[in-house]
Structures are given as structure tokens and as C-alpha cells.
Amino acid sequence: MARWAKALGLRYIFDEAGASSEEGVACGSWRLENGVWQLGVGDGVVRFADWDGPAEVREALTWTLLALQPGDSERGRHPLAAWYDHCRQLSLHALAEQFSGEAAEGAAMDKGGPELGAFTYPGYFLVLSPLLRRDEASDAWKTARELMLEVMRATLCDVWNKDVADGTQILTYVPAQAFDTAFDDLSLWTSDHPPKHADRTRTVVDHLATAIREEGLIDVAISVSMPVLEQAQLRQAILSLAMASRLHGAQRVGGQRVAVFGDQPMAFLLSAVPESALRTILAMVSARSASNPEEWPNGWMELTRAMMRANLNVSEAARAMYVHRNTLLARIEKVYEETGFDVRVIDHLMVLHLAALAMEQQGAYN
């Protein structure tokens, strides 16, 4: 920093996060305040006094400063990896805010390292986190890492990858083409339900998670970004990736370990709702029923989910839940009696769905 300042003849002040009462500036982004350029550097803000800060110089400064964070000097941090790590630290609210802000500005990343130019578009970022048990040996991560990359290579193609999150996750970039090819070659769908394009990626990622689990007996959580259509979207895509991975936390059901950005807008919406509002929503829902949601019959959440997935078709939901249609009808009646909501009615089903998501979200708070 000092060297740069000297070379450019700049004066700067470093403010540690929390030192000032103002809102911080996100790591890697610039803000002009009262004629003073400020750069967020993760643990604080650097202010540049008396400087008009041309865009190119600022961009160059960003990369130089953030790509060489202390402690990472040996490996040399890749800007995208650094950006991902930064995004991980943000709250979901801050992420969402930046995401929409970035969308408006269309913030470019085109002056990034040479590797960035080599990406094929469109594509997706994936982050893979092996869920190692706490008592596993220290070389477990290394083994897991090797294995995950081998399996990715075998399933998709050679992928660009970087270690992130202090070397506990791998950030990868996969061209959309690789997903399509894998999907077609595996013919993963049953003939009567060929999935739509968006689901293809998801299907292949599910497959990838299974392969890793089977091959190495490792559970892995995989998050998938929005599709990256061009280089200018790289930063925003990483933001979307961080948001997807954050939703894992709220999603405890069924051991689902794959989160795709855009798959769960409802869950995302609820994650942005303050806890007090969530409590009120649940109170409104239970006002209609004889008991609190905590006391509702076992399986109302599964029932709700199954009915949503089956488009309110009882027979299809029954098939998906592996129960007889009559058994399911009996359960539907029971849930109706207890909750006052009938999952065969779309309005009711939506309320129950909302309540289920709200409870999951509350669980994530606790």
C-alpha cells in the first residue's frame, strides 16, 4: 500500500472497520464521499485525500491491493477467490444489496488477471465444500480435494479451480457446455419428464454430488451461481454464488446439499425478513388453527412440499411420498383438521409453504 501511495503520490488514511460510525464500504468497491475516494478492504476502509481517482487507476489499485492480502502472499490470491472470500463474510442482506447494486452498475471485472480471459461463456461458478466430520484426520481435506477434482474432471471436464475459505472449499468455473454434454451423455432423465434447461444443470450437479459421495464416502455441499454470460458478470456471479451457499444454512431438510442460485427465491425472500416479522407470520398462520405450528401433525411440512412439487395433484404427491393415495388423503384430512388449511387448495397450500419456510428460517436463527 505504502509503495503504491508513494508511486502515485497519494495520501491515504486507513480506518479499521467499526472505528467510524458510518456504514462500511464493501471489500473491493469504491465510494466517493464528500469528494474523498474510499476503498473497502475487508477489515476497514482506505480513504484517499485530494485525489480525483481515474477509473483505470482505481481498478488497478483494487486488484493489486486485494490480490495480495497479507498471509496469502506466497500463493498469490486470485482476484475471484479473494472476492468470493470477501462475499462469504458479508451478511445475507449486504450480499443482496450488493447484488442488486452490482446489477445496476454492471460492474466490470475485465481488467482482472490473465486467467479470467480464458473462461468460456456462458458458464457457472460452483463452490464445493466437503462436509468432513470434526474428528477426521488433517489430511482428510487434501484427500477430499483431490478426489473432488478428479470426479469433476471425470464427470464434466478439466475445470478452473482455486482454494477458498482458508482452504476448506474449492471455487470452480464450469462452462455450461460441459453440463449439457454430461447431461445428454448420461440421459439422466426418465423419458416422460425431460427436464427444462435450468433443471439440467441442477441434475448434473446432483449427480456430481452423488459421485463424490460414492467414490470417496464424502458428503459434499455444492452451491451453483447464476449463469455467467459474459466477463462483465463475473463479480456479480460470485455474489450470487455466495448467496446460494448461504441458503444451505436455512435448508435442513432431507439432507439436500445442492443449492442453485435462483432455485429458491421464496426461501431467499424469507431469509431477508426480520425475525420478529417471521414470528408474526407464524402467529397469523396459527391464529386460524387449533394449535401452534410446533404441535401440528408430524409430516405436514413433507406433505406441503410434496403437494407443491406435484402441482396439487394428490396421486402424484402420493407416488412421490411412496404412500397409497388413500393414506395421503387421510393425512391431508388430518392436517386440515389440525391446521385449518387444506393442501389441496392453492391459497392454503401457499400459506403452509410459507409457514414451513418461516419455521426453517427460524430454525436457522436459533
Partner: protein, 382 residues
């Protein structure tokens, strides 16, 4: 080759107030084929994942072979797992798919080749080794997925609903294949399914679970003919066992099961049991399987006292058999009868109950009082 022993196993997920798996005790013998079966959410997968080491064990002991493995990493437990969504590598041949895991483990080439060839022979896919997954049928892919597990030569195979993605016909065929495979490999296998038919046809022993608790673990025959409680009785068998609420009445030295429009005199051989179980005068549930209701003349002439009158509501044709959905008083029951006779909706039928095969459950606890068990014992001694 290994025995798998689960001792007082509990699993409580983080944040959950109650355990998902409770006091699970099971001694799985070396080379045994055990099936975990139960409704969705009963904890089958959780238990299997604890055996694999993918899930921490909250409490209890798990042994594979002689070794306590609670704290052993999954990859060091010498197991292989096969899932519903079998993972094949799209750009590799069948041979490479099977060899992949061994290559990662740095097994010598000659050894890999030997194992792959052997597994291919066992699975009858030797002629497919050069093909890519795309050029395989669903059943062939399933076999390759099994092959990938076999070449690892694990001590224990764990399978979580491996067949549920296949169509019905293929599923039936693959069940038999997996049974055969088990006989050839002579390895311990633990197989999870929600499908009671699959469990009945595949397991040496089946372990029926509900809400994280073992309800009964025994051979398919025993679980079917002597279910320990109403849950097991209703879950195993298709169509499901008929349940009729009523009570046991003592009258002039005889015992009857009575319910609206039904009175059945219970066999003398069970009198002692009825007295001892303290069930007389109490509400009970009578259980009778659809195939134990008979409409053959011979049966009704021989056992005239066992006949109940029913009205046909629905006739379900199944080919050689017919499922008659009938009403008896306020109850609906299903009888599985021969398709030779004509049946008309709305008509009355007489159905004779095979009293040696009925079950009586305490209406409150839903536990069996051992009626069928007592019967079978008696038949042996007489």
C-alpha cells in the same frame, strides 16, 4: 467379510429436540442380507449413513468386524455404498468407470484389470466393457454402478434404495439380480427400501422401522405371519391387513370376537392365551389378511361358524385374483379371492375367516397379544 453390530445407537441431529434414531439394536451376521424398511422419514437413511460414517453417532456403539468404528473415517471402514442415483462418468467406458475408484486409490494396473474383469463376469456385462454409459440400458447402468462397488471388495455393502429410479419391470428383475449377487459375493449387505414387497422378497432378515425405532426384526416369514404390532401388520403385505375394532367377550365357557354385524367364536386352543393376556372384555382390534378371507364353498361348509356377511362395494380385477372391497357393518374390508367366480357390486357375499391366521391386538397399545404365534406353536405340538 464382516459382522455389523449396532448397540443402543442414537442419532440426534443438530438443533433437533428429539432423536431421529432411538435405541437401535441389531446384530447383523457375516454374509447376511438385511433390509431396513419403513415409511418415509423413519430414519432408514440416517441409520445407514451412520454405519457408513457419513453421519456422527450421537450415542451407542457400532462395530464392523471386531472393530469399534464410531470414530473411524468412512473411507477406512471398508464399506461401499450404492445410491438411488448411481453415479457414472459420462465420458468413460464401462471398463474405465469401474476402474476409476481403484485408480484413485493407486491400485496396481494388473490388479485393477483382474478385479474389473471378475466383476464384469459376475454381473454379466463383460461384453459391454468398451461402451459408454450413453449406450447402456437402465438395467445395464445399474449393473455398472454395482460393479464399481464390487471391485472395491468391501467387507460390507450398503445400498440406499438403489432401484427406486428404475421402472417397475426392471426393478423386479434387478431385485433378483442383487439377491444372486449377494449369494455369489458372500458379503454382508444392508439394503434400505420403503417398499415392503422389495423387503419381503430380498431380505434374509427385515428390520421394520417407524419413527426411528425398530418395530420388529426377523425373517420375512415371521414378520408377515406374526407381526408384533398393528404398525408392522399394516405396513407389511399388500393389500394391507384388514383391521376391525371390536371386543373379546366370554360367554358360556366360550370366547367370541364381537363387532357390529360380526361374531366369531375363537378356537379352543387359544382360550388359555386369551385368559392370560387379560384382554377379555377389553376393546381389541382383529387383524385378518385379505387372503385369509375365503369364499370357497368347501371352506364355508367345513367352518360354518366363521362366516361373515359382507356387501361388495368395489371389484378390483388383478388377473388370476380379485380384490373385493366389502363393507361389513361400518367396516370396510378387502378379500383376495379367486377370479373364477362372478362378483357383482352391491351383491352380498359370504366370507369365511381363517381363524388360525387371525391376529388380535390390544386396541390401546396396538401390540399383538400373540394370537397367531400361539397358534403356530400349537400346530407344531399337536
Amino acid at each position: 467379510m464382516a459382522r455389523v453390530l449396532l448397540e443402543h445407537i442414537y442419532k440426534t441431529y443438530g438443533g433437533a429436540s428429539e432423536p431421529t434414531v432411538k435405541d437401535f439394536n441389531l446384530d447383523i451376521q457375516d454374509k447376511e442380507f438385511v433390509v431396513f424398511v419403513g415409511p418415509s422419514g423413519c430414519g432408514k437413511t440416517t441409520t445407514l449413513r451412520m454405519i457408513a460414517g457419513l453421519e456422527d453417532i450421537t450415542d451407542g456403539n457400532l462395530y464392523i468386524g471386531e472393530r469399534r468404528v464410531n470414530d473411524v473415517a468412512p473411507k477406512d471402514r471398508d464399506i461401499a455404498m450404492v445410491f438411488q442415483n448411481y453415479a457414472l462418468y459420462p465420458h468413460m467406458s464401462v471398463y474405465q468407470n469401474m476402474a476409476f475408484g481403484l485408480k484413485l486409490r493407486k491400485v496396481p494396473k494388473a490388479e485393477i484389470d483382474k478385479r474389473v474383469q471378475e466383476a464384469a463376469k459376475i454381473l454379466d456385462i463383460a461384453h459391454l466393457l468398451d461402451r459408454k454409459p450413453k449406450a447402456l440400458s437402465g438395467g445395464q447402468r445399474q449393473r455398472v454402478a454395482l460393479g464399481r462397488a464390487i471391485v472395491r471388495e468391501p467387507q460390507v455393502f450398503l445400498m440406499d434404495e438403489p432401484l427406486s429410479n428404475l421402472d417397475a419391470k426392471l426393478r423386479v428383475q434387478m431385485r433378483a439380480e442383487i439377491r444372486k449377487l449377494h449369494q455369489r459375493l458372500q458379503t454382508t449387505m444392508i439394503y434400505v427400501t420403503h417398499d415392503q414387497t422389495e423387503a419381503m422378497t430380498m431380505g434374509d432378515r427385515i428390520c421394520v422401522m417407524r419413527d426411528g425405532i425398530i418395530q420388529q426384526a426377523d425373517t420375512p416369514q415371521v414378520v408377515y405371519s406374526q407381526p408384533r404390532n398393528m404398525f408392522v401388520a399394516g405396513f407389511i403385505g399388500s393389500p394391507a391387513m384388514n383391521f376391525i375394532r371390536g371386543e373379546i367377550v366370554a360367554d358360556g365357557g366360550k370366547f367370541y370376537f364381537r363387532a357390529p354385524s360380526i361374531s366369531l367364536e375363537l378356537p379352543e386352543g387359544r382360550h388359555a392365551l386369551l385368559k392370560n393376556s387379560g384382554i377379555v372384555g377389553q376393546p381389541v382390534v382383529l387383524g385378518v389378511r385379505p387372503e385369509d378371507l375365503h369364499n370357497e364353498e368347501v371352506f364355508m361348509e367345513t367352518y360354518p361358524d366363521t362366516v361373515i356377511n359382507a356387501q361388495v362395494e368395489v371389484v378390483e380385477h388383478m388377473g388370476a385374483e380379485v380384490y373385493l372391497h366389502c363393507s361389513v357393518g361400518s367396516n370396510t374390508i378387502i378379500a383376495r379371492v379367486n377370479a373364477r367366480y362372478p362378483y357383482q357390486v352391491g351383491s352380498n357375499v359370504k366370507l369365511a375367516v381363517d381363524l388360525n391366521k387371525i391376529h388380535i391386538f390390544n386396541a390401546e397399545t396396538e401390540e399383538s397379544i400373540g394370537f397367531a404365534t400361539a397358534g403356530s406353536k400349537q400346530e407344531v405340538t399337536v
